[in-house]
Symmetry: C2
Subunit: 338 residues, 2 copies
């Protein structure tokens, strides 16, 4: 591809929460699209989707011919990615896949453009993986600190919005909250437990080591993105009754000394980060303010009182934007520069 | 006092969220009350309060004569405690104070009955302090693990309910949530930021070290309660849109090896703790289930993947009950045994 040249783009899984966000972000960033094609499962085939004032008919992914597509942005779930991403790639298109299907595949680069942009170049399968949302939000501010002082260990506890679980989870929080305010009993459906005015451990499968899949992703994906599997990581992931944007509390131990002032200074110049750190006004990153934003907000920088070379800080980022769609579109933008 | 003998009790700050909980807990536990007196600020004086089917008139604290009171349970704010607790104590009554006014006073014991019950015996000022809610909830399950393997360092991130900020904060979450669901803009009043479908760093003053007061309390009070100021502690405290019960994510490093199985076994027999730890069903401590409970629920025990002798776990407890009223009434029960 060449910079300035328009390309043929397919959005796969266009009717989902991330699929919709793909379209919003592509339009916002004036992504140079020659022909757009939108695809989803059979159930959604035939629906009409509007992009930049023009209507598009959703194609059935199972019957779609990928010929002529330059870049396909996939967010249609792991099993569909496993089946269709290789088919699309062998037809000559480059797949940017938002599912977890290929993330740990050694032949598939796992890319956060602010961290490891050059990793996109080696993609023997024609597939580039977009990391997990909580991972992306953590590594964008961690990376500049890691480059400066080398992170040895970090502990993260997440406060995750429901929209990470899709559009139905958003309705569930809204409807259940109404029910509870009317004095009714919450009736969980998408989530295993009531989410209205409650919180619970992330609803993904627990492994033999006691960590759930979301936590394991944060550890393994950070190792792959940073190219350093010696970093010791422990994550605790929880769902909170917030519609959109995750928050994360991070305690990081570094090899070299790094002061909170220096961390603030580094991150105030770092790509993809906005420092929100006003102690006087008690004003720090909040999911309400990061919703719809591409930047990861970072603040509450302080020397970790439990460590000699440690920093504690708090971040928030929109998991549908930077945690998914924006990151994928940024990867597509890197492809345009090739 | 002597076990089995009824005593004269005063509840000070009876109209507040914790004051109301004092009455509930005293009644539930059949606390042997000879005469009950209820007190509050002038604004609430003259109101009627029902306890065990009998009506009581709220006395104006400023004009109340403490003579004859055996035990006074205070939860009327720090400045009122500072003024009136010493007056009550010099009239011969023992004050159990829920405010932060005396917690770090070396002449005032800071007591969690499951941890340091004998500390109540040395009380030269006649005042015993009830710890901060987040601290109590953390130390109840930490203490048995500390006794077994000696905790060297722990990192905690909290998910704190609004009721810790009083009854008005509960209405604020309810009303603001309704407003947001009706498409209106959230209008914060008690809290500095919108709480409906949002979360933010704990709304207490930030010190020079960047830690807010709630976080500093967790560190300093744990040192005092455990009688060990060598433990390195870092807390991050956040408010979440939950009515009642705090949750906390804890990563603890120990001097000796302790397995998750052993931790689970120890805590399943520990006073004040209920183990809720079903990996198969993804069922762990949740604020909705601990609300109205006296026990601290603990689960998600796993080997900390970032540490050699570390454990990660997740807890939840009702901050109005065990985090305030229940703990104070338990202290009063210890006094009955003297």
């Amino acid at each position: 591809m060449a910079l300035g040249k328009s390309v043929n783009v397919a959005v796969v899984g266009v009717t989902g929460a991330v699929g919709q966000e793909f379209l919003t972000v592509l339009a916002e960033r004036n992504f140079p699209i020659k022909n757009l094609r939108v695809m989803a499962s059979q159930r959604s085939a035939g629906k009409r989707i509007t992009y930049c004032g023009k209507e598009y008919i959703v194609e059935d992914l199972a019957n779609a011919d990928p010929k002529g597509i330059d870049i396909a942005l996939f967010s249609a779930g792991g099993s569909r990615s496993k089946e269709f991403a290789p088919k699309f790639a062998s037809a000559g298109c480059i797949v940017v896949d938002n599912s977890s299907a290929f993330r740990m595949d050694p032949e598939v680069p796992l890319v956060v453009p602010e961290v490891n942009p050059s990793a996109i170049k080696i993609r023997p399968k024609g597939i580039i993986a977009n990391p997990n949302c909580s991972t992306i939000i953590a590594v964008v501010p961690l990376w500049p600190l890691h480059k400066r002082a080398k992170v040895k260990r970090f502990i993260v506890s997440t406060y995750q919005a429901v929209s990470g679980a899709g559009a139905k989870a958003i309705y569930e929080l809204e409807n259940q909250t109404k029910e509870v305010l009317e004095g009714k009993k919450a009736s969980p459906n998408i989530f295993p437990h009531p989410i209205a005015f409650n919180l619970f451990s992330h609803n993904s499968k627990i492994g033999d080591d006691g960590y759930n899949e979301e936590e394991t992703k944060m550890r393994k994906e950070t190792h792959k993105i940073f190219g350093d599997s010696t970093i010791r990581i422990s994550a605790t992931c929880a769902r909170v009754p917030v519609f959109r944007s995750h928050a994360e509390s991070i305690n990081a131990d570094f090899e070299m000394k790094i002061s909170p002032e220096e961390a603030r200074e580094i991150l105030s110049k770092a790509p993809g980060v906005k420092v929100v750190d006003d102690r006087e006004k008690n004003y720090f990153p909040m999911p309400l303010e990061t919703s719809g934003q591409d930047l990861v907000f970072a603040g509450r920088f302080r020397r970790d009182s439990s460590s000699d070379n440690g920093l504690a800080f708090f971040i928030s980022g929109d998991q549908l934007r930077k945690g998914a769609a924006t990151n994928a579109v940024q990867i597509a933008e890197l492809l345009l520069e090739e």
